[in-house]
């Protein structure tokens, strides 16, 4: 009897430990705004996190992609160009690991925005995707207006991009992979040239997947 009680106690302790460990959360990036509102006569302060604003780009199949295509999905974004001689190949090699890990999951996407939309037409992007061995709809190569892309990169994905004719390939950009959650909030940034950081990204996507869905009306 005593033994049984002991086992139950041990199990209870382990059980509670497990549920505590489930609270492994990722940070929120960007600006945050406190919002004070009155609920049932009481003043409540809530935090609004920075989110990715609406956008419209075209993918490698010529389809229009907007924020609506990403509603309720987790995605990873990076910025590249197909003729990039410097860090892009190693970034895309590492991104292929992310692609292979989640290509069967329709709720996880990868968006690679070209920062050289003049050269990287839909046709060029499709050819690039084919050669990289990417098919289906889990990894989109997106082309849009240059200004819009740069603004999106700097203001929302917090990545520095600029044109510089002295840099290899004519552009300077950082090789970050940015993780965005189901509610369009930036939750992580990883150096896409470092395989260990990309492994962390894969682990963090699994953490985000396990995050509870937002309460309705939020």
């Amino acid at each position: 009897m005593k033994t049984l009680l002991g086992i139950t106690l041990v199990l209870a302790v382990f059980g509670s430990c497990k549920s505590n460990n489930g609270g492994n959360t990722l940070p929120f990036y960007g600006n945050r705004t406190p919002v004070t509102k009155t609920v049932n006569g009481q003043t409540v302060t809530d935090t609004i996190y920075q989110t990715i604003p609406p956008f419209k780009f075209v993918n490698q199949y010529g389809d229009s992609i907007t924020e609506k295509n990403l509603g309720g999905k987790i995605y990873v974004a990076d910025f590249f160009f197909t003729s990039c001689p410097s860090i892009c190949p190693v970034m895309q090699r590492n991104m292929l690991n992310v692609y292979n890990a989640f290509k069967a999951d329709p709720n996880i996407k990868i968006l690679s925005f070209t920062i050289d939309p003049k050269y990287d037409s839909v046709k060029v992007l499709k050819k690039y995707a084919d050669k990289l061995g990417v098919s289906g709809n889990s990894w989109w190569f997106l082309q849009g207006k240059k200004d819009t892309t740069y603004k999106l990169a700097e203001k929302n994905y917090l990545i520095a991009v600029s044109q510089d004719n002295t840099a290899p390939g004519g552009y300077v950009h950082q090789g970050y992979f940015v993780l965005v959650d189901k509610e369009k909030r930036v939750r992580g940034a990883y150096d896409g040239t470092q395989p260990e950081q990309v492994n962390q990204l894969i682990a963090d996507i699994k953490t985000l997947k396990a995050e509870p869905a937002p309460a309705p009306g939020q």
Binding site: S83, P85, S86, I87, P89, V90, Q92, R93, L96, Y128, D130, K131, L132, G133, P168, G169, T193
Partner: protein, 138 residues
């Protein structure tokens, strides 16, 4: 007496060969280890840590027949880059390889590394050889 002289000469030759070989292997080790660093800094991003390339985008360096047959063109290829179609490992690659700004000795070291890694085994590509190949660049 005669026999002793012959033995002496043979011994001398053996010593000479051994020390020569030693010199060669020291030279090879120097080229190879410097080359490995140059490879990491200038080649690895595209061609990969194991020379695997990147699917159909970037050719691998593991096609030892290609490396062997084109050994004399590789110096120019590194120095001036390459544009157009290229058949490696039975696959056609097109696109562009940028010119890599390296001194002849660095090209020699990088090529020695590549030519003796990823399944290739072609020995030292020394700087004299690189210089004579570079003169013939198209």
């Amino acid at each position: 007496m005669k026999q002793k002289v012959v033995i002496g000469i043979v011994l001398l030759m053996v010593v000479a060969i051994i020390s020569c070989e030693d010199d060669n292997s020291i030279e090879f080790a120097r080229y190879y280890s410097s080359g490995s660093l140059i490879y990491q800094g200038h080649c690895q991003n595209c061609h990969g840590a194991h020379g695997e390339g990147l699917n159909a985008l970037i050719p691998p360096l593991t096609d030892s027949t290609f490396i062997k047959e084109n050994l004399h063109q590789l110096s120019c290829l590194v120095k001036n880059g390459l544009k157009g179609k290229l058949k490696v490992s039975n696959k056609i690659f097109e696109g562009q390889m940028p010119a890599v700004d390296l001194a002849p000795i660095e090209i020699a070291q990088a090529l020695t590394y590549v030519a003796n890694s990823f399944g290739n085994k072609l020995g030292t590509i020394n700087v004299d050889r690189v210089n004579s190949d570079l003169i013939k660049c198209p």
